[in-house]
Point group: C2
Chain length 217, copies 2
DNA sequence: TCGTTTTCTGACCGTATGGTCAGGGTCGAG
DNA sequence: CTCGACCCTGACCATACGGTCAGAAAACGA
């Protein structure tokens, strides 16, 4: 087998440490921003000496880039629900659900992404111009098809996508504000479900999408 | 007249310098985050020596706090359109319009606010728990009234507010991403108008609000 | 066991940053 | 004109931060 795939102790250590560092970095970058984050803070959170971080990731920029790249991959993966959907309502509804789950399970990643974009995407501008642009064009075409088929009202697909991104990611990025307005408590499982249903209902109704089981009369 | 209101040269200088500094600070904080912003950068942008900034604002934290407080006031002011509206569609539609205008005209402020909240609102937590919470409760009551009157579908008013905030502020906070997906060009006046109409249309239809002029048959 | 490679880390360094301050300049009131 | 209050700023300081490095420790293959 290839040398890099060997499952000896060294590789295990490396993999585990990289995982721990990336996870700690994601959290610290999310909570403090790139400028506010320090290698010492990340090291403490990872339970490793600072010098050890620099052994695995040469610079703060490199570590940050790895964090953002990982998030970007997850971001694009959520699109599975949009593709191969039997109809518009199922596809868009499923995509909203998937993104709401992501906001719930990966709030730090969402915040890092938001922060990166807000600051002009200094690190992942190339991804925006290639991968994200291509991805977006593909979904726009799919949405246009649904419009042509009369499954949803005519609407600029871009604004629909922005709306979905904005609304779903808001529950992660502005989670602290939502929590404060919720009496200082995090949303319960029930409240998350209600949020998901509200968002789905308003958007699907807003674009005139009929539920799958209720075909046109 | 009161001493603080005198229009002598000294007061003019003070007012003008504070304005210039706050404006520069808003931009720098928005583009670099609190941690990434430096007093030197803000000073350069304001065209003043760094020491002069510290003459008007003792610390970086104080300057930042003033910036955020100013944004918060503007944020709350946009609610005028929601209050005293003749009906739900006009009120909510007007509020969306006002917030879209704010995203267009004050993108830096929106970003600073987003950044502050994302990082756990270390500076304005008290505002969230008092002013924002009170404001929100008031609007929730108003929305509930519209629901009871049958003007809009039953929906948790909180999620409706979050949706409006998320969608409208997205055009400021994620403006760079939108610009990139728009071929690298900022949205034109026409595109902004389309965005505004799209958002309004989807949300108003999504909550079953009928336009003001088209009363129930 | 031995030599080699990889992992680990305390101590250290140069720089950038927030903040200070003494002293000079400007304005306005009387 | 004079004096006091306010405005301005170059030079400076202490600290914190990203990053380096020599050398110890551990893992590995033979």
């Amino acid at each position: 087998m290839a040398e890099t795939d060997r499952l000896n102790k060294r590789n295990a250590i490396r993999r585990e440490n990289e995982r721990v560092i990336l996870s700690a970095a994601e959290k610290v970058f999310a909570e403090a921003g790139f400028g506010g984050a320090t290698m010492q803070l990340i090291a403490d959170m990872a339970g490793l000496p600072k010098a050890n971080l620099h052994y695995y990731f040469a610079t703060k920029e490199e570590l940050y880039r790895k964090v953002v790249e990982r998030i970007f991959v997850i971001w694009l993966q959520a699109a599975d629900r949009l593709d191969n959907a039997p109809d518009a309502a199922t596809g868009i509804g499923g995509y909203i659900e998937a993104k709401m789950e992501m906001s719930r399970r990966h709030p730090f990643g969402s915040k890092v992404w938001a922060s990166e974009v807000m600051h002009g995407a200094p690190v992942i501008q190339d991804y925006l111009e290639t991968a994200l642009r291509d991805w977006t064009e593909g979904r726009i075409a799919a949405i246009r098809r649904w419009i042509d088929e009369g499954q949803i009202d005519p609407i600029d697909p871009r604004h629909l996508l922005y709306m979905i991104w904005a609304t779903t990611q808001h529950y992660a990025d502005f989670g602290h504000q939502i929590e404060t307005l919720n009496g200082g408590r995090p949303l319960s499982g029930r409240q998350w479900a209600e949020a998901k249903e509200s968002v789905k209902a308003v958007i699907l109704r807003g674009i005139g999408a009929v539920p799958a089981r209720a075909g046109p009369a």
